[in-house]
């Protein structure tokens, strides 16, 4: 298999590219639909048609966003089978149900209501239309519930057992996947991240109108809804983010160590590196700026807690790999003779570490007789990329702080009625529109590169999951994805800018001055 690992790399790049692309459109849909519900609630409540126009105008921007969200979403569903056939075959019965439920409940509801939202204004009563908008938002959010339950299962596979007879992961409780602690926390975290994206989107575009001195009433009210919604959501976002950190420290210590660039376990209280230049080859940090006591507080919420370092984790991995080799050799015996009782007994004793034996695949052909060097190399490959994890986390946190300040300032200025007297602040709001997107993408990168080398944590290494494809297949498809997505996003941005600039007058004849 000369090109095997090249195919692995390209499959990963393709998945990352298409998933990150999809995740540019998801958060806005997620948040904007609820903002539409808020606006339409105001309309139903007050009968003020300005709120109806607001709903229609922001709805139009939603439609432009939604079109690309749909196609990039269908790509994701195809891609498990296209590029990760072995993974799909193995996990169809465990991860598959949640993905299917997502399609059946969330996507279906969202897409059907989406049509009614746009075409139902004259055909439905005011309240019935509100219900449609509500279910559109509800559908979008259900989607994130299921996707995050599925992804959290990959990070922390509960209620699952590998059946060696057909090499598939079998599920013992589907409810368990939703009741998974990690899943629930991450659902909150990602949902609120989406709400924040949409809040800044509405705030930023409204600020643009205020700067241009047009549609003042429309823009101010939209701005206030965006800022208020945003502040609340940013607070919850931080809460769930913090809880997520605690869960990660518990379930994925190697990810935590990578995020914080902890090469050794340090005695408490541990300082938090605000900045550092981690170097995975030498296992040191080139440069650090630290806040004393910080890490103990962040990671354990105590002063006497610590974060397990990478070096001791690697030592543990070596032991697990050695143990896994027993399971691996027992499995080979079972393949030769399925009735071999002693092999089955050995397999059962060590099966929890079978995945670690597979980590040896890139380093030796003969896993059963791996050398100490092979085992050390494989154990080190079990640590995610420290540099990426470290910086992705800090980008996320840094952007959150900027946005939080913007929300607070926005509410203060709006309350005083002095928004238009702070053009610099308004300009900041406009230029901040891309920031939450960047933070959301960083969050995805952190979650997914932080899980490497595993596709299913501690069970299935990513490199085993690929389809049996040729290198040329992957090169062609990746190039085509880049070209198609490039063209689509150009058209999308062009229309988005065009309609955002046109403003609310594009949907109604009357100008709101």
């Amino acid at each position: 298999m000369p090109h095997y690992f090249a195919v692995v790399e390209l499959s990963r790049w393709q998945f990352a590219f298409t998933a990150l692309f999809h995740f540019l459109f998801v958060p806005l849909t997620l948040g904007l639909t609820w903002i539409l519900v808020a606006m339409e609630t105001c309309y139903v409540w007050t009968n003020d048609t300005l709120y109806k126009d607001m709903t229609k105008f922001w709805g139009k921007l939603l439609a432009i966003n939604f079109a690309i969200g749909v196609i990039s979403g269908i790509t994701m569903e195809f891609e498990f089978g296209l590029n990760w056939a072995y993974f799909s075959r193995m996990i169809g019965g465990s991860f598959g149900p949640i993905l299917a439920i997502e399609g059946i409940t969330a996507f279906m509801l969202e897409a059907t209501m989406f049509g009614l939202f746009f075409f139902g204004w004259d055909k439905l009563s005011k309240r019935a239309h509100w219900v449609v908008t509500f279910f559109m938002a509800f559908g979008a959010s259900l989607s994130i519930v299921n996707i995050l339950a599925a992804n959290s299962w990959m990070q922390h596979p509960t209620h699952t057992q590998l059946n060696y007879q057909n090499m598939s992961l079998e599920l013992s409780s589907i409810a368990g996947l939703y009741l998974n602690h990690l899943a629930q926390i991450r659902i909150g975290h990602v949902a609120f991240a989406g709400f924040v994206v949409a809040s800044i989107f509405v705030m930023g575009i409204s600020a643009y109108y205020l700067l241009q001195n047009r549609d003042a009433v429309f823009a101010t009210r939209s701005f206030i809804i965006g800022a208020g919604f945003g502040l609340v959501c940013a607070a919850f976002l931080a809460f769930f983010g913090d809880q997520n950190g605690l869960e990660v420290a518990q379930n994925e210590p190697e990810k935590m160590a990578a995020i914080e660039a902890q090469w050794q376990t340090q005695p408490p209280p541990v300082a938090w590196y605000v900045l550092a230049w981690p170097n995975q080859a030498t296992e040191t940090n080139g440069f650090t700026l630290a806040i004393p006591y910080g890490l103990s507080l962040i990671a354990t919420h105590t002063l006497d807690g610590t974060v397990e370092g990478i070096a001791p984790i690697v030592e543990k991995y070596k032991a697990r790999i050695r143990d896994g080799i027993h399971a691996y050799t027992a499995l080979e015996k079972l393949w030769q003779n399925p009735k071999d009782a002693s092999a089955l007994l050995t397999y059962r004793q060590h099966e929890n570490n079978l995945g670690f034996a597979y980590l040896l695949t890139p380093f030796t052909e003969d896993i059963a007789h791996a050398s100490d060097e092979n085992i050390t190399a494989a154990a080190k490959s079990g640590i995610p990329n420290v540099f990426i994890s470290f910086w992705a986390f800090r980008i996320m946190i840094g952007i959150w702080m900027i946005l939080f300040i913007l929300f607070i300032a926005g509410i203060i200025f709006a309350k005083r009625g002095t928004l238009t007297r702070h053009p610099f602040f308004l300009r900041c709001c406009v230029w901040s529109i891309p920031l939450p997107y960047l933070a959301a993408e960083a969050g995805w990168v952190l979650a997914e590169t932080g899980r490497q080398p595993w596709a299913v944590h501690d069970i299935l290494p990513t490199f085993m999951g690929i389809s049996s494809l040729q290198l040329s297949d992957l090169v062609t498809s990746l190039v085509l994805f880049v070209l198609f997505y490039g063209a689509l996003i150009s058209i999308e941005l062009f229309l988005m800018f065009k309609f955002a600039r046109k403003g609310p007058s594009s949907i109604t004849e009357a100008q709101h001055v």
């Binding site: 799909s88 169809g92 997502e102 399609g103 059907t112 049509g115 389809s467």
Partner: protein
């Protein structure tokens, strides 16, 4: 928990049913957008587009249901089909990309050239995926060149895109395209009036004749030309272990399987009946009856294909004994059982709000005219 064998059969029926619903709903969307590049007046094009615009999104979503269903119920089929037919699946995907922007963006810019481009994009994004789905289904009769590693069950596919384009499969792809064109024409008669309706009736008659001919030829071809497969025995209670089949290959086996399972005769009867009934009803102007008859015709045609293949899902042409069947491709009993409860409840809920959606859009006024669009210029696509 339900019996494992029962679950396997009921899921075969549900997935087949979902595929039929997908073809019968997204099918008319594809059918009407096939008209777009060929209509001379922009007014007509907008009427045609807007007959499907309010619900196309929800209709397309059935493909996600079908894909998700495949993933959970038959992981081996999902992974073998998608990775094996890599180029074909990507072709479906890339052409499908043009569809949502075609609907959402076409009307966002008031320029003739911009709109004509999206008309062609909508045509391509409808026809190519439907053609390829048909080709893939045709190849299910021929068999696919794949095999599994005997221990890890990793799948290997030894064919390529050109191998899929054999004459029988191409015929099957063409039948699919003609089928959705007929269905779209029936739908258009139901939702429009005047010249558009007359045009749609003509296209309906022509496409129905071609469909009858194509469907019949493909049946005769199966009887005489195509080498079929017959399942002699399978492992006891197999779960995702496709290696212990005994399969025979031979000419005409697909049709002789009708003697083994006489229920297979029902589907083609429904197909012929549905097509003829839709013609008859359309001739008298009973557009709703014609539409439902056409839905039954689609159900009959897909049912005939799926039924004829039963119990095979994907036969292996190079290693027939490793063929994927209804019996050996399914997930664990727990997964099938749980998903059955979830799926049935959700299907009822979906049916409820789908009816609500169609009722809202078409309940008061089942016909869309150019005047309607002029009145609400900003809201229509």
């Amino acid at each position: 928990m339900f019996e494992y064998e029962f679950l396997k059969i009921i899921w075969w029926m549900i997935i087949g049913g979902v595929l039929i619903v997908y073809a019968a709903t997204a099918g008319f969307d594809v059918g009407v957008t096939m008209y777009m590049p060929f209509l001379r007046k922009e007014k007509d094009r907008r009427v045609v587009l807007n007959t499907s615009a309010p619900t196309w999104d929800g209709n397309l979503t059935w493909i996600v249901f079908a894909g998700g269903g495949l993933f959970v119920v038959w992981p081996a089929v999902y992974s073998t089909a998608f990775s094996g037919m890599y180029a074909a699946m990507l072709l479906i995907l890339f052409t499908l990309f043009l569809r949502p922007p075609g609907y959402e963006y076409r009307n966002k810019i008031d320029s003739g050239r911009w709109r004509r481009c999206w008309d062609i994009a909508l045509f391509i994004s409808g026809v190519i995926p439907v053609f390829i789905f048909g080709v893939a289904l045709g190849n299910c009769f021929i068999g696919f060149p794949f095999y599994f590693d005997p221990h890890t069950y990793r799948e290997f596919y030894t064919g390529n895109l050109w191998g899929l384009l054999n004459p029988y499969a191409v015929l099957s792809g063409l039948i699919s395209v003609i089928m959705v064109l007929m269905h779209g024409s029936v739908y258009l008669q139901r939702r429009t009036e005047g010249n558009l309706r007359k045009l749609a009736f003509k296209v309906h008659v022509i496409s129905a004749i071609f469909l009858l001919a194509g469907f019949t030829i493909s049946g005769i071809w199966l009887m005489t030309g195509v080498s079929g497969y017959r399942l002699i025995s399978t492992a006891a209670e197999p779960t995702l272990t496709p290696l212990q089949n005994v399969v025979q290959a031979g000419a005409g086996y697909w049709i002789t399987s009708f003697d083994q399972y006489p229920w297979k005769y029902f589907a083609p009867i429904v197909a012929y009946g549905g097509i003829l009934e839709s013609l008859w009803a359309a001739y008298y102007g009973w557009c709703t009856t014609a539409f439902w008859a056409s839905c039954f015709a689609i159900g009959g045609i897909i049912g005939t294909a799926g039924g004829t293949l039963f119990p095979f899902l994907m036969a292996s042409s190079t290693h027939p004994n490793q063929s994927l069947t209804v019996w050996n491709s399914a997930s664990s009993q727990y997964a099938l059982n749980t998903m059955l409860y979830v799926g049935v409840i959700l299907l009822v809920v979906i049916l409820g709000y789908k009816i609500f959606a169609y009722q809202t859009i078409w309940g008061k006024k089942p016909i869309l005219t150019a005047e309607d669009i002029e009145k609400n210029e900003h809201e229509f696509y």
